[in-house]
Amino acid sequence: METLVQQLINGASLGSVYALIAVGYSLVYSILLFSNFAHGGFLVIGGYICYYALRSLGNNIWIAGGLSLLGAGLSAVLTERIAYKPIRERTNITLYLLIASLGMSIVIENIFVIVVGGRFRALPPVIPTDPVHLFGLTTTSAFDLLSLAVAVIFLAALQFFIAKSKWGLAIRAAAFDLKTAGLMGINVNMLISIVFFVAGMLAAVGGIFLSVRYTLYPQLGAITIKAFVAAVVGGLGSLPGAVIGSLILGLAEMLTAGFVSSQLRDLVVFSLLVITLLVKPTGLFGKKPLEKV
């Protein structure tokens, strides 16, 4: 029983970090109908900005975190302007965007390898990682609880932004039909920039938490492949789907590793993906293209 509770907590905290990243995939997909594989790069950018800000501006996580979110958001906008905008203005085949994003992910990773080196870097201890005993039932890290809480806060804020703000309404309209939304007077380029900015910011939050948990290195973005799987399982384009998919994936990983075999964990994760695509290709919460976001 104790073990089960422990593994459930392990899974939920892993899933919450996946969720922050998966939501970014879903957001971009809902507007432009392609999976932005450079998303892992924004996570790495956010992590490094936070690292250097903490180092040079004193250990103030609020300033460093703010700069990191801003920086990653702007890099995402810049990436869209440089790599995707020229393509989407020439063609409406989203496969080209997908390929461009694969290229960008490799470009970003290698820029970091060359500029800062392949070495592992730990963020200064601004986020507590001490063991916390929960009701005598189980032990977890303070960090796990914090990452769960922060993920919930950011996802709730995003939901609020989309449901209540004017730009949120525009995003919903664009997800409905980007072209028509443009014809109705929405500034489509601005809208896409906002979506990328938000996705980049969420990636930075994920990046900071992943850097604390697994340290920072240029290949850290590779972890987003799991978040992408989570987004697909939950239904690409659906934000609640991305969250639920992430929790399912985090729990599936931990329970498989804990109770079956740690070697089967990736097998289970990717089998889940294949099964989802076979049984319900739109994912758990995937709706028809008309009802996305």
């Binding site: 390898v113 340290t215 990983e253």
Partner: protein, 383 residues
């Protein structure tokens, strides 16, 4: 006019050819992971090897010629390593190859170098099959400067059972890594022979997995009093950090030569109280000039000091072999490497066993992590 140009071109070509001959060097291939997960190790190796080459060239080179490193990045992938080795041999015409920093890679490149007759020296490649084939027959052109995994596994078991008095061991190993698999196997064999018991034996996928809390939860429940980590630095550091975060404060953690100083960066004070079997002690007085020179040249600490020292001494070993062989010739270099006896390198005295191309009777160093640093604990040669 045309003729004048032709004459000029011919003269220029002749000049270029003659100057090329005058500057002829002894080319040495260097195979290292310069990008990817092992980049920290590989980059240190290359920098250290270059330092040794510069020192040797500064003293007049070998046989009156200068050494020249030809580095290739294998990106932790065996197929890239095989292609790199082919290019070194066929295009660059190297006389010998140093590297790689990983056993699986040396095993993958062994058929190529042995067919071509070019010696390859593994730096930290500790798997037995680096230098012998599946039938136990020595691979004529494969060498190593480090001790082997069976030996290291035995040292680990000796450390846990005899030195520390622990009898219940848990192992967490990388299922996709030959080094990890080998070390685990040889540890189990020796540990049970010392009267110990394996209470938990779990795996993970290296380079993919970064979260080990599921396995650690199981290990915590198994009643193990020692956790053995036969892995690479990143995974071991993450494991140690997560173990301490899960409240496993008293568990003794030991591991092999995958230890690297960058693990402190990842795991911080969680490293305190861990022990590591190693080839080199960072406090070794004989290595201090090297560490100082490295710092001056590269403006950085030699954090991955095992790779640094072994890469540095591999170059000195090879230079000595070329000198003893008497000519820049692939076969002569091989014969001289095989007949290395009592060679005083910086970190150790090297004698090669011709039967398996392994160093004979090298002491193993045990490092103890204490107060933010890996310190020399003792030297062992288990019985």
């Amino acid at each position: 006019m045309k003729r004048a140009i032709a004459v000029a071109v011919v003269m220029a070509l002749a000049f270029a050819a003659s100057s090329a001959i005058a500057q002829e060097t002894i080319k040495v291939g260097y195979l290292a992971a310069l990008t990817g997960d092992w980049a920290a190790y590989g980059q240190t190796e290359l920098k250290s090897a270059q330092l040794a080459v510069d020192e040797i060239n500064g003293k007049g080179g070998v046989l009156g010629k200068k050494l020249e490193l030809v580095p290739y990045d294998f990106r932790t992938r065996a197929e890239d390593a095989v292609n790199a080795v082919r290019r070194m041999i066929e295009q660059d015409k190297v006389y010998a190859i140093i590297g790689a920093n990983g056993s699986g890679i040396n095993i993958a490149t062994a058929p190529v170098v042995n067919r071509a007759g070019v010696s390859q020296i593994g730096t930290v490649s500790t798997n037995p099959f680096v230098t012998v084939d599946n039938d136990g027959k020595v691979r004529p052109y494969s060498f190593r400067i480090c001790f082997t995994d069976p030996y290291q596994g035995k040292v680990l078991a000796y450390l846990a059972a005899q030195e520390m008095g622990k009898k219940k061991a848990a192992i967490l190993y990388d299922v996709g890594n030959e080094y990890s698999q080998g070390l685990r196997e040889f540890f189990i064999k020796s540990f049970t022979a010392y009267g110990g018991e394996i209470v938990s034996d779990l795996g993970f996928r290296g380079a993919v997995d970064v979260d080990f809390r599921a396995q650690l939860t199981e290990i915590r429940n198994s009643g193990a009093d020692v956790l053995v980590l036969p892995n690479m630095g990143k995974e071991m550091a993450l494991t140690i950090k997560q173990a301490r975060e899960l409240g496993m404060a008293d568990l003794l953690i030991i591991g092999g030569d995958g230890y690297a100083d960058f693990m402190w960066e990842i795991a911080g004070s969680a490293m305190d109280g861990t022990y590591w079997v190693n080839h080199v002690a960072p406090e070794d007085p004989a290595m201090q000039p090297f560490f100082a020179a490295y710092k001056e040249k590269h403006n950085d600490e030699c954090k991955e000091f095992v790779n640094g020292v072994l890469a540095y001494d591999s170059v000195y070993w090879l230079a000595d072999a070329i000198e003893r062989g008497g000519k820049a010739d692939r076969k002569a270099i091989r014969d001289a490497l095989e007949n290395t006896k009592g060679l005083q390198l910086h970190h150790a005295v090297l004698t090669i066993d011709p039967a398996d191309h392994n160093p004979k009777d090298k002491d193993a160093v045990i490092l103890e992590c204490k107060d933010g640093k890996a310190r020399f604990y003792k030297k062992v040669r288990p019985e």
